[in-house]
């Protein structure tokens, strides 16, 4: 008979620290330190390290370019609520990612407020490698994790009167220094038609590079419609409303001569202050020709048939 005498340092398996806690330790410590430094409610962040369920890559949307290095994508950001420069990543870490809810309301049969964890659990997550073309003539290629916007809309049953979708992003004065500029029409609003929203390319993003979407990239949830200029992609969404009237977006209000409602990518239509013919690819510095609809024309050109009189390219 084998009698096993345990040594002092040996402990039974049942007392071992769970794997998730071990691997989340850095995040836990980071969250605690951040909470102490910023005064943001730290315990919720620290207790639950963020995670993203695994998602299969959808190869239908091949980007035709190399994926941009993650460090480039997470350190070169436009997020006007945190500033007008590219180095807002550090300041954006103050944006609490949990708890987070997205209210879906307006002209729908079943309005609902979704917790971000509910979305991660209920929605059909997949990975899509999309190009992103900024109106400032730079671009990147990112493996986003998310789900089609249409899947979210299906849950709330849009009514026939719903013609447009209005995206509202978070506006937290103590966290976002840009909100001190009280003369701007906060919160940041963007929008699209119901047809654009229902299009298969319209993607609600909750992750990038297989990880939860960082706050500087619009975490925990943002929209991405890759055939439009990047400013159309509202970050850190808190509300999605289905409405009858065309929403007036933030930039349309601030600089209507430069930014419009449609903002589809078109190399032949320059921005009032610069050309859109080429774009600088982040991570390579290479200048490449910009493509109509950012190269997604085969998918989306049909959406604009009969709309030639609209200002589709700004």
């Amino acid at each position: 008979m084998l009698i096993r005498i345990t040594r002092g340092w040996e402990i039974p398996d049942r007392l071992a620290t769970p794997e998730a806690l071990v691997f989340g330790r850095r995040a836990v410590l980071g969250g605690t330190a951040l909470g102490l430094a910023t005064g943001i409610a730290g315990p919720a962040r620290a207790a639950e390290p963020l995670s993203l369920p695994p998602a299969m890559r959808n190869t239908r949307y091949a980007p035709g370019r190399a994926v941009t290095p993650e460090r480039e994508v997470t350190s070169y950001n436009n997020f006007y609520e945190f500033g007008s420069h590219k180095g807002i990543a550090r300041a954006a870490q103050r944006l609490p990612q949990r708890p987070w809810t997205v209210k879906v309301d307006g002209l729908v049969d079943h309005p609902r407020e979704f917790g971000i964890e509910d979305l991660l659990r209920e929605m059909p997550l997949e990975e899509r490698v999309y190009r992103l073309r900024c109106v400032e003539a730079w671009s990147m290629v990112v493996p986003w994790t998310g789900f089609p916007l249409s899947a979210l809309l299906d849950r709330v049953a849009p009514q026939s009167g719903a013609k447009y979708v209005r995206f509202e992003t978070a506006a937290i004065p103590g966290v976002m220094p840009g909100l001190r500029q009280s003369w701007y029409p906060w919160p940041y609003i963007e929008g699209c038609t119901i047809e654009e929203a229902a299009h298969e390319l319209s993607f609600l993003v909750v992750g990038a590079y297989g990880k939860p979407l960082p706050p500087q990239n619009g975490g925990p949830i943002r929209i991405h419609q890759p055939w439009k200029y990047g400013f159309k992609a509202g970050k850190s969404l808190v509300r999605v409303s289905l409405v009858a009237e065309r929403p007036k977006s933030f930039w349309e209000t601030v600089q209507p001569s430069e930014y419009g409602f449609w903002a589809n990518v078109n190399p032949a239509v320059p921005h009032p202050r610069w050309s859109q013919a080429t774009e600088r690819v982040l991570g390579t510095g290479e200048l490449v020709p910009t493509q109509l609809f950012n190269g997604y024309g085969e998918f989306v050109a049909g959406l604009y048939a009969g709309l030639e009189n609209e200002r589709l390219w700004a």
């Binding site: 500033g83 420069h85 220094p177 001190r180 500029q181 003369w183 701007y184 601030v254 600089q255 430069e258």
Partner: protein, 87 residues
């Protein structure tokens, strides 16, 4: 110098009466030209330093629109008075 000070004080009074005593300078400028401050912010934060906007210019823009010319006008009048006394 004294004349400039008086003109600035008059401007401050005019701004206060016309725009209201509580409207921030930034809001007045935004009303005048909605794209002006955005372009200024982008130029300053991207080409010079982010803090220059956040910590120096933004606090000024948050003040009532009449306050900046009033302070400048008062300083000029004070300087003019000191110069006259020294002379």
């Amino acid at each position: 110098m004294r004349l400039a000070g008086l003109l600035l004080l008059a401007l401050a009074a005019g701004l206060g009466l016309r725009l209201g005593w509580g409207e921030p300078l930034g809001a007045a400028l935004f009303r005048l030209d909605p794209g002006l401050l955005n372009m200024a912010q982008a130029g300053i934060q991207r080409r010079l330093a982010p803090w220059l906007w956040d910590d120096v210019l933004l606090p000024v823009l948050e003040q009532p629109s009449w306050l900046v010319p009033a302070v400048l006008g008062a300083l000029l009048l004070l300087a003019a008075a000191l110069r006259r006394r020294r002379a």
